[in-house]
Symmetry: C2
Subunit: 338 residues, 2 copies
């Protein structure tokens, strides 16, 4: 037998109270006696009543959603950020509405449009590069906008991130200090991953600043670059410029792939060639040898974004005052591959 879905009205009727009292019994509203509240909750449970958030959303003009777009769900760095963000927001009773752009700006634009229709309280996007229409939609939205994992030149709203280019200066300096001069870079061969492209640009600038040749660039295919692409890119690097002393990879995953290729070929790391990555993925600290990397503190990015959002939502006046730029300190973790 198929009962129809229960509403507050059903609960109210059964309990012999008004709908409004049932509503109050379901919130932390003090103006219901504890006895009534308990009784109503029990009756609701018996009836199998489930609170309908869609109706409350419309009436209160609040959804308790925070929309988030990331390039890929299958990336430990972004996963960590979302995890931390979502943990903190959950404490405040908010939920994350997540969408993946697949490193595609056109897709990101669509996602942003869809997400905004759901009336989130705030929106968090990855990176500072977006289509014109996406920028416009975000600007016009009357909610806090937070760009992360980047330090955009012209931010849309708030920012919680770091300069991807700057991390590469740190890495090149580290390698130069180790006496390396012939240094290569392995990364995506398109700009689909804008943060990866920023790191490539940062690498080139850092090499120039050190007076070194910056032409050893290996394109590893369309982003995202993963372990396998890292391995085959390392193969091409060793074939093309056998005298390379160090290689910086766009992420730890490609760095690990590169490392395995060296192991397969019997090339000693770091003796013959040093390898560095980015992201402080778990594998960098576990592989043998361990991989030198940059830790961009992904969880911190998520946690800070969450704090910022909660702060802005608590005091909406603050939002209008000034866009906040929160810079996250990254850290170079020297390890066995350099």
């Amino acid at each position: 037998m198929q009962h129809s879905a229960k509403t507050m009205k059903d609960v109210a009727r059964t309990a012999g109270v008004s709908v409004m009292t049932v509503s109050r019994a379901f919130k932390s509203d003090t103006s219901v006696s504890e006895a009534t509240r308990v009784r109503i909750r029990e009756i609701a449970d018996d009836l199998g009543y489930v609170f309908d958030a869609t109706a409350a959303n419309l009436r209160t003009q609040k959804t308790n959603f925070v929309a988030v777009t990331i390039p890929s769900i299958n990336n430990a760095n972004f996963a960590d950020t979302v995890d931390a963000l979502s943990d903190r927001l959950a404490e405040a009773g908010m939920q994350v509405l997540l969408a993946y752009s697949g490193y595609d700006m056109a897709k990101e634009e669509q996602l942003i449009e869809q997400l905004l229709r759901r009336r989130p309280e705030a929106i968090v996007v990855t990176g500072g590069s977006h289509s014109d229409r996406a920028r416009k939609m975000l600007t016009n939205s009357r909610i806090p906008v937070i760009e992360t994992w980047d330090l955009p030149a012209a931010p849309i709203g708030h920012v919680v991130g770091f300069s991807n280019a700057a991390t590469m200066h740190g890495m090149v300096d580290h390698l130069v200090a180790k006496g390396k001069t012939r240094i290569a870079f392995i990364g995506g061969d398109t700009d689909g991953d804008t943060r990866g492209a920023d790191r490539r640009r940062g690498f080139i600038a850092a090499m120039r600043r050190n007076g070194l040749a910056e032409d050893r660039l290996i394109g590893a295919g369309k982003p995202p670059i993963s372990m396998r692409e890292g391995a085959s890119a390392m193969g091409r690097l060793l074939d093309t410029w056998p005298d390379t002393q160090a290689v910086v990879c766009v992420s730890d995953l490609s760095a690990f792939g590169a490392l395995t290729e060296c192991q397969r070929r019997g090339v000693n790391v770091p003796g013959e060639i040093a390898i560095a990555g980015f992201g402080a993925y778990e594998i960098a600290g576990v592989s043998h040898p361990t991989i030198t990397t940059i830790d961009p503190h992904p969880r911190l990015i998520g946690a800070q974004a969450a704090e910022l959002i909660l702060d802005l939502l608590n005091d909406p006046a603050k939002e209008k005052r000034k866009a906040r730029i929160i810079e996250i300190d990254w850290q170079l973790r020297a390890a066995e591959t350099t």
Copy 2:
């Protein structure tokens, strides 16, 4: 200057049509002339109008959400499943509402309650073990329920999964065929990860069936077991039972950790000890040596779940007819570590 949020009414007024015509212009409703539709869309864009899904959700009693719970967002296996699921659903205009339980059944129960309040069209949960209250909520919900990554003895609704225990029979048989008899298992030391616990049970049963001792069980801590825990567990295994010929790890991540520990100690793999994992993570195919593993086809699970959902939603009568159990074939991928 702060304009107030625009509604269909504003668009209608500006366009000189009724609200209903605006509504129709925003759907694939034929009963609006193409000229009017285009004009209305343009006016809406000019005004900065954004369609309000919360109102539509209430009125139509449709949210176009599919709720999904997974143990952790930071796990490539579940990420693949969600990715495939979400891709297919997106084609049908549906969105995934994702939540992570942190391998905690009490947390999962809370999540399910919160998710159901949002009135999803269907709900996908990971595994077949849930708290009593969670089971009850799912059973009472009038939407399709799909359990994945498992083959529960008493399914709540539909199932898209495989027997975790059976995969371990396959793995033990593989090792026995390679002449191994002293075989150990590395996994979590609690049952927080129910699928991991199923694999441990499957391992024990398979060893018995082969007439082998099944006492070499290494507890690697509280799930999820990652690379680092795998490495330290391998250390304990080598210290406790140095004559072990093979070890089955609860996942490729712990298997890789175990492999690195062997490399650090100078223990030859597979010469002195064979290592096997589970999950067909990318690292299993890239590490040196490559790791023998089980491929449970995570993307296929997601894709099949999506198809099932779309099928059920298209023909609601079907849902009442019979619960579908879709078994996914897993595959043993023999590699260099065995």
